[in-house]
Amino acid sequence: MLPRRVSLISGVLVMNTAIVALAMVALWLVVDRVRTEEAERASDRAAAAIAEVVRPDLERALADRDLPALRLALAKAAHAASLTECRIVLGDNSVVADLETGAANLKALPAELPAVSTVGDAKRTFILEGGVGGRAILTLEVPAASARSEWLEVGFGGVCLAAVALLGFVSVRAQKRSMPVTQVSSALSSIQQGEKELAALELAESFGDVATAWNGLLKELASHRAKERFDSVLTRRTQGGERDEVVPRMVDALWHGVIAVDDELNIRYCNGAAAVFLCGTRDGLLGTPILDRIEDPQAKEKLGKLAGARSRGKIVIETRTGEGDNGAVLRISARPVGSGGGAVLLIEDVTQQRVADKSRNAFVEQATHELRTPLTNVRLYVEALVEKPDADVSTRSQHLNIINQEVRRLERIVGDMLSVSEIEAGSLKLAIHDVRLPALFADIEAEFSAPARAKNIALRFDLPPKLPTIVADRDKLILALTNVIGNAIKYTPEGGNVKVSVKADDSLIIDVADSGIGIAADDAERIFDRFYRARDPRVEKIVGTGLGLALAREVMRLHGGDVTVQSVPDRGSTFSIRMPLKAPLSRAA
C-alpha cells in the first residue's frame, strides 16, 4: 500500500516530462549540427566560385609583379563577394595582400617568388600561378550563410510550449482522476491504524465509480463488524459470562473471598481475595473443583453436599490451610443459588480471631486460677477462725495476716485486669502528685520481703542515702514496680538473688536484677505484649496472667519513661525502669 501523500501517477508524469524535454534538447542539437555542416559546405562552394572568378586578374597581376594591381584586384573581389577574410601569401609566409590594413608586410613583389611547400585548408586555399617567377597562395573566407531559419526556431519553440502545456494538462487531469485512489489509500491507512468510525472514511459520490465501490465495501465491513459484536455478546450471555463491569470491581474490593461454583462445584468466578486464600491465581482457579482446595476431610464432605443441589441450606465450615505461622484458618460460608445448581461461597480469614480466642481463653484460665488461689486461702482461714473462736491471739493474728495478704493479692489481680481494660479503652490516666521515694520503696520492701523469704531468695534494695520527692502517679508507679519485682521473685528459683538498685539524677533509674531462669532472645521483646507468656516450659508451670509487664511498660510510658530488659537464659535478667524526674508540685507551687 502506498503511504499517505504519495502518488504514483504524479511521479510517472514528472518522469515523462523529463524524458520529453531531454528528447527535444537532443533533437535540437542534431538539427543544429546538420544545419551547421550544410552552411560550411555552402561556404566552401562559394569560396571556390569566387576564387575561380578572381583568379585570372590576380595571376595576371602576380605575373607582372604589379603589387598595387594585385591588391586592388583582391580588394575588389573581397568587396564584391563580401569576404570576411582574403589574403595572398608567398611561400615564405610573407603577406602580399590582405583585407586588413597593415597586415601586408611586403613592399614589392620579388622577381623570384619563394617556393610554396604547404597548402592549408584545401577548401579555402587556392594556388595562384605567378608565371615563370613562382606561385602564391590565395586564402578566402566567405561569410557563412545565415544557417538559422527564424521560422524554424519559432516553430520549434511553439512545439515546445505546446508540449509543456499538454503535459501540464495531462498532469492535472491525471491527478484529478487519481484523487479517488488517493482517498482510498488514505482510508485504508486509517483502518490499519485502528479507525473504528467507518462512516468517516466514506468517499463523496462526486468521485464516481471508485467512490461507489469503496462506499459499498465500507458498508459491508460495518455490517460484518456489527455481526461480530452481536455474536460476541450473544456468546457471553449464553455462556453466563456476561457481567456488569462495575460489579466485579466492587467484589474485587472486598477483603473477603467470593467464589461462584457451578453444579459440579467447579469454580466459575473468584475475586482477588479468594485467589489469595486458596493459594492460587484467578485464571488458574477457574474451572477447577473447589474441593481440591480444601484439605480438611470433614469440611470437604460438608461442602460436597452442595454438588447437585443436594443441600439447599447455608453451610459454614472452618478449615485450616498451610502449616505453622504461614497457615491460615478460613471460615467458608456457602449457599446454593436458586434451583439451577451452583453456589456462592464467602471466605473469611479468621486466623487472628482464633489466635485471639486462644489467648483470651488462656487468660481466663490463668486469671481464674490466680483468683481462685487467694480466694481459697481466704475461705480456709476465715473458716478456721469461725470454727475456732477460742483460738489464741497469736493464731488469730497469723490467720488474719494471711487473709489480709490474700485479699491484697486479689486486689492487685483485679487492679491489673481493670488497668488492662483501661488501656484497651485508651482511658488509662495518671493521677499526678508528689511521691516520696523512700516511703514508696519501704512499702515495696515490706510487701515483698515475706514472699522472698518464703523462697529463700535474698532480696536486697540498694538505695542511695537520699532519695528525692518526685512527681508521679504513686499507685501506678507501685503497680509497675510490684509487677517487675514480683516477676523477679516469681521466676527466680529458691536460693537465688534479687537486687533492686535505684539511681536518681536527671532521671529515675530502677534496675531489678535477678538470678532467675532468664528469657530467650526471641521472647525478650514479646514479654511486654499483653497476655504473652514466654515459651519456656518452666514458665508454663508458674501461674501468671501475662499482663504484668505490659502494664508496667504502659504505666512507665505514660510517665515519659520505659521498661527494658537484658537477659541471659539460665543466668538471670535485669529489668530497667526509667522515667524523667520532674520538680515536685509542692516546690513548683
Binding site: 472486598l254 477483603w255 482477588g272 505461622d325 487472628q352 521483646e525 505484649d529
Partner: protein, 111 residues
C-alpha cells in the same frame, strides 16, 4: 538493610531498621512481598525505626499497596514518624495505606 520480623499471633510484623532509600527500597519491597505472600496478607509494617524514605521507598510502598488492593486488602503501617507521615500525605499516599499508632493497634485491626 536490617528488617526485623516478628510474629504477633497470626500477624507478621516487619520493622525496617533505618530509612527506606535507594537499594534498601528494593530489599524492603522484597521482604514485605514475601511476608504478604506467606501470610495471606496478614502483615504489618512497623516504621518506628524509619526516620524517612525517598522516592524509591515511596514507590515500593505504593506497589505493595496496589498488590494488596488487588485482593481487597490494605497495607498497614504503624509507628509512622512525623516526617514519613508528611511525605505520605504530600504524595497522596496516605489514603492508600492504613496507619496505626503502634504495633498493638495494627495487630488488633485484623480482629
Amino acid at each position: 538493610m536490617e528488617i526485623r520480623e516478628q510474629q504477633h499471633g497470626a500477624i507478621k510484623a516487619l520493622s525496617p531498621q533505618g530509612p527506606i532509600c535507594q537499594a534498601d527500597a528494593a530489599e524492603f519491597h522484597k521482604a514485605v512481598s514475601a511476608a504478604i505472600a506467606s501470610s495471606m496478607g496478614r502483615c504489618v509494617v512497623d516504621l518506628t525505626a524509619t526516620p524517612f524514605l525517598d522516592s524509591q521507598g515511596l514507590e515500593s510502598i505504593l506497589t505493595l499497596s496496589e498488590t494488596l488492593s488487588d485482593s481487597g486488602q490494605f497495607l498497614k503501617l504503624c509507628g509512622v514518624c512525623e516526617t514519613v507521615r508528611e511525605i505520605l500525605e504530600l504524595t497522596d499516599l496516605a489514603s492508600s495505606v492504613e496507619q496505626y499508632e503502634d504495633i498493638t493497634s495494627a495487630v488488633r485491626s485484623f480482629l
